[in-house]
Every structure is written in C-alpha cells, then in structure tokens.
C-alpha cells in the first residue's frame, strides 16, 4: 500500500531499487550500472543499514547479497517476509548450487542469480521482476528498424521481404527482439533460448555460429546492420545510433 502511494507522490515514477551488498566495489558497480538503466538506486553495505533504508524509502526491489558480514542474507529475507514488507527480492550469491537456489526461493526470494553473473542478465531479471506488477505488453509483433517479427505466425520480414528462419533462429531473434536495445549475454541465450541447465557445455560455440547464421539471413543483404556483437558481453538487436 505504502509503495503505491509513494509512487504517486513523485512523478515520473522511477522504480526504486535498494542494493544490500558488502563488497564495496561490487556495490559501486551495481549502483552505477543499474542507475544508468533508469532506476532510482540506493545501496547499503550492512544488514542494519539495509533495514533502515528499507523502512524509510520503501523500495520496489531489493537486490540482496547472501553473504553479508554480520547477518546472513537469508535471515534478512526471512525478517522481511515476517514483517510483511512489500518488496520484491532478487538474491545474489556465489553459492550457486541447485540446493542453495531452492533454499533462497523457499525463504521468499523472487529470483536468484549466481555470481559471477552477466550484468545484462541482472538488468533483464530486474526488469522482469518489476514488470510483474505492470501490465504485460500484449503486442504480437515487434519492429526494429525495418525488421518485423510476428509472434503469432512466427514469421519475420525485412523491408517487406520475408526471411526464412528455422525454429531456433526465430526463437533467438524473438528473444533478441524482446530485449531490443539491450545487450543479451551468452548465459542468457544458453538458459533462455537453448534451455541448457549447465554452463559447462560447448554451447557458447553453438551460440556464436547460430548468431553468425542469423546475421547472414537478416543483416548481410542490407546496408543497415541491426544485430550487433558487443565484445565480451554478448549481442544486441537495435537500430544503430547515427
């Protein structure tokens, strides 16, 4: 209740995110990166400070590191859930086994990301978590430049000319289109498009080749390149800035 009221107070409402992370560098980088993505971000380096900020500023989302110096992140999570504070929680941790994941989600976390993660993936998760309350876009077609995707007929065309895509190529293009303007990491593609549970597979190689093939189909015949490789990070589907 408090959250919606305060949202109305300040307009335009930028979703507010609180980061509780004890590693100073990590915290700074997260603050900087998430802020750049258009959020209102505050950070705390201890559980006490975090609780204080949580009660004062009522953030929409809490990015919580599980390994904190004095109190375990899980305890904080449990207290948040007992106090019925209305906040979505995204857990970050380097203990990244299935069991840890289950414990975290059982304790009331909304999502879970293992360190080291790719930053685009963190942004995508944050977006997804905050979108849960907002109405989902119901559009069945995407337009990036002169590229059009129809999710109903599962067809793509560029400048009106249809492009023949395989199932996987369409899924890949659709995923990139859904995240248009943003960079998508190989980890995200592996888990969301290829549905690979383990990272230790030669899947990166497969992704690279698949991207190259997709590029041949959607970009090569056209002067304007939409599918870009962001070195070291991943791929991005966007209209290039002039």
């Amino acid at each position: 209740m408090m959250r919606t009221e305060s949202n109305q107070d300040m307009s335009p409402a930028r979703p507010r995110i609180l980061i509780i992370e004890d590693d100073r560098r990590m915290s700074e980088a997260l603050l900087c990166g998430i802020e750049a993505a258009g959020y209102d971000v505050t950070s705390a380096s201890s559980a006490e400070e975090g609780f204080f900020l949580l009660h004062r500023s009522h953030p929409d989302l809490l990015v919580l590191d599980l390994t904190l110096p004095q109190r375990n992140g899980l305890e904080i999570l449990q207290q948040i859930r007992t106090e019925r504070i209305d906040v979505r929680v995204l857990i970050l941790t380097s203990h990244n086994t299935v069991e840890d994941r289950v414990t975290g989600l059982r304790s009331g976390a909304d999502d879970y990301l293992g360190k080291p993660f790719s930053f685009p993936e963190l942004l995508a998760r944050i977006d997804a978590l905050l979108r849960r309350v907002l109405p989902l876009s119901t559009s069945t077609s995407f337009n990036i430049g002169d590229l059009t995707l129809d999710t109903k007929t599962r067809t793509a065309s560029r400048s009106g000319r249809p492009i023949d895509l395989t199932v996987r190529e369409f899924d890949l293009l659709l995923y990139l289109a859904e995240n248009r303007g943003r960079t998508v990491s190989r980890e995200m593609l592996a888990s969301d498009v290829w549905r690979e549970s383990s990272r230790f597979t030669p899947i990166d190689n497969v992704i690279d080749v698949q991207i190259a093939r997709l590029r041949r189909k959607i970009d090569d015949p056209y002067p304007l390149k939409l599918l870009q490789t962001v070195r070291g990070i991943g791929f991005s589907l966007r209209e290039p800035q002039p």
Binding site: S198, R199, T201, P202, V206, Q210, R231, G232
Partner: protein
Amino acid sequence: MIARPLSLRTRLTLWYVAVLGVLLLLYAALVFGFQYAVLTRQMFHDEVQDVVTAEGLLYFDSQGVLQLHQNYYSRPTSHLLVDRLMEALDLSGHILYESPTLHGMMLGGRLQHGEGDTGFNERIVRLRDGTYVLIVSHIHTLDGVTMVIRLGYSLGPLRERMLQFLILLLVTVPAALLVAGVAGQLIARRGLRPLEKMASRAEGITASNLHDRLQIDNPNDELGQMARVFNHLLERLDQAFRQMKRFTADAAHELRAPLASIRTTSEVALGKSGSESQYKEALANILEETGRLNETIDGLLLLARAEASQPGQDQSVFSATELVNEVLSVLSVLIEEKQISVLQDGDMTGEPTTIRADRPLLRIAFMNVLHNAVKFSPRRSTLRIVWACGKEEVRITVGDQGPGIPTGEEEKVFDRFFTSSSPATAQGSGTGLGLSIAKLVVNRAGGRIWFEPGQSGASCILAIPTFTERLASQ
C-alpha cells in the same frame, strides 16, 4: 568406576577360559557321577556275595534262636564282620537275628510287600542314628523257616571318599583355569604382537608419508593378509592423494593463466593513455578472460559434483539414442556449418538402448565427446556414429576424420587439464576438463570410455550398461 572396554587379548582369553571352565566342570561332573555309580555297584555286588555267605553260616541253636557262625572268618577284624549290618525277619515281621553292629536299631523297618521275592532287592535306608545304608534283601529258608535276610553296609565311608574327590576336583579346576588363563594371555599377546607393531606403524602414516608401507612377516597368515590389504588401501590412497595434489596444482595454474592475462591487460591499458576504443578493447579482453576463468571453475565444480554423487542417486532411465539425437540437434548448427555428414549405423533395431544414469551429467559427457568430434572434423568430412547394442551394454563409437589422437596419448586425453603434444589438436582445446568429466560421468554410470588406437581420425567408444527391468528388480 566406568567399565572400560577390554582389550581383544583379554576378551579372547576370557572367552577361552570360560569355555574351558564349562568343559572342565562338565568333565568333573561326569567323572564324579561315573565313579559314584561304579562304587555303589561294587558295594551291591559285595553285599550280594556276603548275603550268600551269611546264609550258609546261619543256624538255629538248641534254644531255637537264629545264630551266625562267627568262626568262619580267620580274622575277627575282617571288615565284613566289622561293617556288616544284618538282620533276619520271619514273614510275620519278628526279628530272628540282629547283628551286633546294629546296636539294637532296625535295619529296614517293617517288612515291605514282596521284599526279597525276586533276587536281591536293593534300597537305601536311613538308620535311627542318621547313617545311610545300602541294603539288599533276600528270602531264605532254613530248617523249614522262611525268613527275609537284610544285609547292608553304611554309605558313610563311600560318601566321604566321594566328597574328598569332589573337593579335589573343585580345587584343581580353578587352578587349571588360572594356569590356562595366564598361558592364554601370554600366547595371545605373542600372537597379536605383529598387530601392535602394525598399529603403531600405521599410526605413524600421515598424508606426508603415505608411501610408507606395513611390514609383512608372513604373507600367508591372517595378519599378513591384513597387512597386504592395508598396504593396498594405502597404495590407492597414495595414488588418489598424488592425483589430488597434481590436480590442485594444475587447477591453480589453469586459473592463474587467465588471471595473469587480466592483470597484464589492465596494467598495460592503465599505463598508457589511449583512445576510448583501446580501453574498450582492453576491457573486452578482460571480460573474455573472466569468461574463461568462470568456465574452468564451472568445470571444476561439475567434476566435484560428479565425484561426490553416490551411485544410484539422481538416476533416471532413458534412451541413449534419444540423448545422442538431442545432443546432435543442439550441435546441428555447427555440423551444418562445417558441412559434416553424420552417419548413424549399426544394430539400431535390436536391443533397446535404455540406460540408467544421471541424465544431465551424461548429456554433458555426450555433448563433450560429440562436440570434440565435430570440432576436430575437417570441413565436408563424415562423422560416424556406430551403435552396437548388446544384452549387457550399449556401445557407441564416435569416429571423426580429424587429426586423431597421437599414439600413446589415448589414456592421457582423459587427464584433467591435459593438453596434447600434437599442434593439430592443441589448437582450439577448451578448458581441458571436458573429457575428464565425460570419463568420470560414464564411469559413474557403470560404463567405460576410451579412444580406439590406430584409427585414422579419433574413434571414441562409449560403453554403457543397458538397463533392463530384470536388473532393476534385483
């Protein structure tokens, strides 16, 4: 006081003494009973003989009183005279004769029905003064008078002798047990001495001297066997330990290489003022190196997970053919790109390829093996997957037309962080963990994986036990 657990030596001795004690007591009881029976029988025979003798010596004197000839015996102290207790009764129960040794006491009380009718009835009676007597009764007719003659000897001396015998037994049995116990303890100590030696030696073996072995005095006895088994255990531990050490060193090296690259890249980038694109280039390089680091760590964690998995845990039953086709479909884009033709042949219709394993792990194993084959296949070559499905195992041969594995490295390629000496294969190798993981996973599923030597191209064979309902019900 808290009872401390006894040593093996003492326990052995105690058991042995206890068993021996029971046996000795049983033996003593048998001997005692037998002796008593023999002596009693002897006494009975004496009495029967004595009755026959006494009957010949009885006579009625002039007053009609029954008398016994005393002058028959040469010596008046004959034990038959001294010990013999005798009385004679007529059929109405009147005492006709009474030996002086009875001192007026009745020997057998009133006449019993049928007493002495058949041979020599024997029975034990108690006299008025408390003496127990074994008597025999016999019917005898003298001068037209039918009488019952009772004759007996006191059981006192016999019982006294038996009591002495019993005391002797009761004294000697504990003494024998004591001697046996001490001897047993000594023998056990002597026998177990090699064990103590082994224990003290084993106690001295720690991680730093795992190569030490127990001394085997006699390889054929039980202790020698134990020492041998223990030495084998040490051998395996030693090997595992050395492997672990090498692995840690290799892992450290493998992690250090990307770290060094990250460090140098950053230092160089910060050391000179460059353009924005140069900085971006450096950062991208660093990111790629962290990706390498992460992949190595993922591989190590996967190895740890596969190693820690218990047999039977997380296992499911599935078709190997399906799994291979699933992996091939993931890799299909690479296969198409290199224009490789995949040929699957062999006995596909015969036995089903149902296997039982940790599917996600086995999928990674297949993924690694097949990806290797694709990676090393030249363009427009053929990748052969041959199936041989027997009753026992499914055998999958993955053969490529790549550079193959150098002779002598067929085993080593499964080593962790192994890098081939051949420049053709060293190119484009990944973390160096893929095949190690594949091997570990296949072994955990009860199967084997190896490279067939002497083939053109690499020929990897995976043999995985087939799963049948029959096996499952066992």
